[in-house]
Amino acid sequence: MQLAALGLVSYFEFLIDNFVHIPPTKIAAEIGDVPCAFHIMKSEFLECAPEELKRYGKLIRTFVRTLKPLYVSDHLARFNVHQMNLPIVAEYSYAKTDIDRLSARVGQWQEALGTQIFLENFPSRTTAFAAAQPEFLVALSAKSGCGILFDVSNAIVASVNGNVKLSDWIEVAKASPHFHVAGFRKVNGKSGWLLDSHDSVVTEDTFEFLSACLKATSVPESMTYERDANLNIEEIAADLRRFQRGCA
């Protein structure tokens, strides 16, 4: 709200899983005229039982109808192993042979939600699957009709951890009307992998890559700044002002 008052925020993105117990009309009354978007973190839409997908989709659909979000996004990722919950989200394998099955699942999820879903690119942690991700996302979008939410910082993290060329992400950026951007950091340890931590300022290489993406694409419809920890308003405001200046 402080950032909105400063004219630095024009919409809110809700991690909607955290608010599905609040009547959508009540949320609408609280946010007033400020537009919103929905990010889904806990659908596990690739792995959950079909009846659970329908139940959760039906519940979120009531929020979609009332609040009319700019977009509804989710994650192409693994949340379980052998039906046990993972403490951190794991990368999908992007096997080309999976695309028909995934496309059908995305279709079921979109039908349950009653709207298009935008899938976010994953901040790969290793080289295991990373290289296949950009092409796979574009192919899945074309096949299923889903959109892509392009997370600029995740692309940089995936490029460092997974040896993906940054230029491979440009086609993904071109296909994405909605962008995410956030801080990341190196995790303590000898391997020095990057964690999509959302707890720090946006790095210089992120601003540079974002500039390159913006030159190659039309201006995105939305750009969401993610910050989950170390909520230093001055730092955040400085990052947001830089986005408003076109990353200069």
Binding site: V20, I31, H82, S191, W193
Partner: protein, 177 residues
Amino acid sequence: MNSLTAFISPSEARKLPLHSPEREIAEHALRQLWHYLYDYAPKLLGIFSPDGKSLLEDWLECHYRERASIGWWSFPILLEHPEVQSHLDKELKTEILSAAVTRWLSSDRTEAQSICLMERNYGICILGLKSEGLADSKQILCMSHSMIEAKDAIFFSTSPGRELKSHTSWTEVWSPE
């Protein structure tokens, strides 16, 4: 086993090469589970000081053997751990059950408004309330009760209501054989 099992099992993680990215990522994942266990249970951590790892490993490997997910329901299992039992008093039991309620409040994806955990022997009842509006906090209330006269077990109930009296359907919390 799939390498992702190293995210939930310390023994599986130790099979990965030391200092490899895979090992360090697994250790990062296991660190999240450390926080899951202890962030809302500081007295419990004090019992297993300095690092709490012995209890954490027992807890995780117990779930892994049973192919069971870690979740809010996993906290009452701690009450059966021999070393926890030797320190168990009303305060520790309240802390552990409150931690379970806190985790439910953060993970439930339904329209339910509250959860209640109840235990007979100490007469403890923990009521957890989700936030009412966007800017409101979750609430955890600890109360005495004399409602359950059954066996030595933990029961839970979730409700679309926010009052204790709205909790009428009780289920025993899962525990390993």
